[in-house]
Symmetry: C2
Subunit: 118 residues, 2 copies
DNA sequence: TCATGTGTGGACTGTATACTACACGATATA
DNA sequence: TATATCGTGTAGTATACAGTCCACACATGA
């Protein structure tokens, strides 16, 4: 298992906690509407990463990028999946093509599309 | 529910069956290593679409595009998800940017990347 | 010392997923 | 008229997912 999620979450939460007691497991769990013991287990990788909805809430609370946190949890957002599934052939070809392309090249595409050069 | 999957599958299989008895529910199910009653239910949308593995086997048997069939089943392949999860921020930005871009423009990107213009 | 807050342990739960097993009646074939 | 093949109906199942619930021990501050 990607034992990453819990470690990452714990590190991030503990950092925030030093400056703000609202980031104790208990208080954070309460805002996420889950049980503290559950969150504790997730942080210690005793429990698989939460659902997409909970991870998104978590990202919002921790000020993290939702897509990154979802990826750490082994997920891709339903939103992105929906975009792909609308034109599966097209996006499958694209993603496979870009798999090995370096970051800066992909970013250039993103920017050019955004600037309307297409 | 996307009542599409079953209809599509049934139509495709029946077409093939007219020319080749190997495409009866029973014989096809046998090659897929599932029960015929299960496949029958899937075709009549009485049962949710199968797992990714079974859909991929189905696509191979029917000569269909795996990504398209997966999409009809409401899924995105683990392979593509893995590519996204390796660079979630990058691919999330890209996919959202391309969401509304017309097919031909996306295809142009695919071709240009393939031709090494990046 | 007592209330409050902290993290954690153990057991259990509801729902979904992805099927199987077996049987039935209809149809076609020999 | 056996035999085989067809599609389908009913019931049941194993596993994973995404948590809950309650209890415990420790620490801190009033």
């Amino acid at each position: 298992m990607s034992t990453q999620f819990g470690d990452y979450l714990r590190a991030r939460r503990e950092t925030l906690q030093t400056a703000d007691p609202r980031f104790s497991i208990r208080q954070l769990a309460s805002r996420l509407q889950v049980q503290p013991s559950y969150l504790s287990k997730v942080e210690r990788n005793e429990q698989a990463p939460p659902s997409e909805a909970t991870i998104l809430a978590l990202a919002a609370e921790l000020g993290e990028d939702p897509d990154v946190l979802l990826a750490l949890g082994g997920k891709v957002s339903a939103e992105l999946r929906a975009v792909i599934m609308r034109r599966p052939k097209l996006f499958a070809a694209l993603i496979r093509e870009l798999e090995t392309l370096p970051d800066h090249a992909v970013l250039r595409i993103v920017r050019e599309v955004r600037d309307g050069n297409w």
